[in-house]
Amino acid sequence: MLENYFRQYGLAAIFLLVAFLVPVGMLAGSWVFSRLGVRPAKPSPVKDAPYECGMEPIGGPWNRFNFRYYAYALLFVIFGVEVVFLYPWAVRFIQMELFALIEMAIFILVLAAAWAYAWRKGDLEWR
């Protein structure tokens, strides 16, 4: 049991390490190659743009966004809490009986009531 625990999270840790090392390695490699003279350094305003293609950014990064997005952030937090309950349920779903299925159905239906309320009141429409 314990061996399995360390093995599984060890694999996750290796994954995390690789995810960290790839961008760091790219930046370090770029720096090393520019030092060696392999990579020419020719800065231009086009290269400094956030994207090479697509729309030209309008306004600065500190622009104020529409307040309506805040509702989505709040909903994200609450549905995050819901997902936390779904997780242990999914892990054990096969061993559990019909009772657990009904239980989770009630749980989700109660939360769906809020969604139905928002829909009914027209809060989901973008105005």
Binding site: R68, W115, D123
Partner: protein, 162 residues
């Protein structure tokens, strides 16, 4: 092995916390907070608290930091992109030192118990949650329902003010 892991994660937690209070950019402060919270999730994993680590990553690392970043995005943060001065820092220092004192006293007063290294079963936890604690679980959905409707109403109030 776990001592080194703990040292690394504790270092990351403290470095993130220091970054939050020392950086002059609010967005950077939120990202340092994310680092700190994820390192705490790692500490939970060392303690075999898998579910708690999951909650930490999903709720704190995911949702709460997103809300903080949204709050920065949606407010007039452009007027104060850099936190130059905060006059409340002496008060914050007193509060932090007081909390440190209380925690240190509690830690020193309690006898240190060495328990057996064990891994609690994740499936056992979910088994008791959906059988023994079924009613509190359903009540949690009602609490979440109230929170959802509250969030919808708060968002609507903001819309009318514009």
């Amino acid at each position: 092995m776990s001592l080194y892991l703990f040292a690394l994660l504790a270092f990351l937690t403290l470095a993130g916390g220091l970054g939050v209070v020392s950086t002059r950019n609010v967005v950077h402060a939120a990202l340092y907070l994310l680092l700190s919270l994820l390192a705490v999730a790692g500490i939970y994993l060392i303690l075999f608290a898998e579910f708690l680590a999951l909650v930490q990553v999903l709720i704190y690392g995911g949702a709460v930091v997103i809300v903080v970043l949204f709050a920065i995005m949606l407010t007039r943060s452009s007027e104060y992109p850099r936190i130059s001065d905060n006059r409340q820092w002496p008060l914050a220092l007193v509060a932090a030192l007081g909390l440190l004192g209380v925690l240190a006293a509690a830690f020193l007063a309690a006898p240190i118990q060495i328990t057996q290294l064990q891994s609690p079963d994740f499936t056992a936890l979910s088994g008791s949650l959906f059988t023994k604690w079924a009613v509190p679980f359903e009540i949690a959905s009602l609490v979440l329902l109230v929170a959802l409707i509250g969030a919808i109403i708060i968002a609507r109030a903001g819309k009318n003010e514009r």
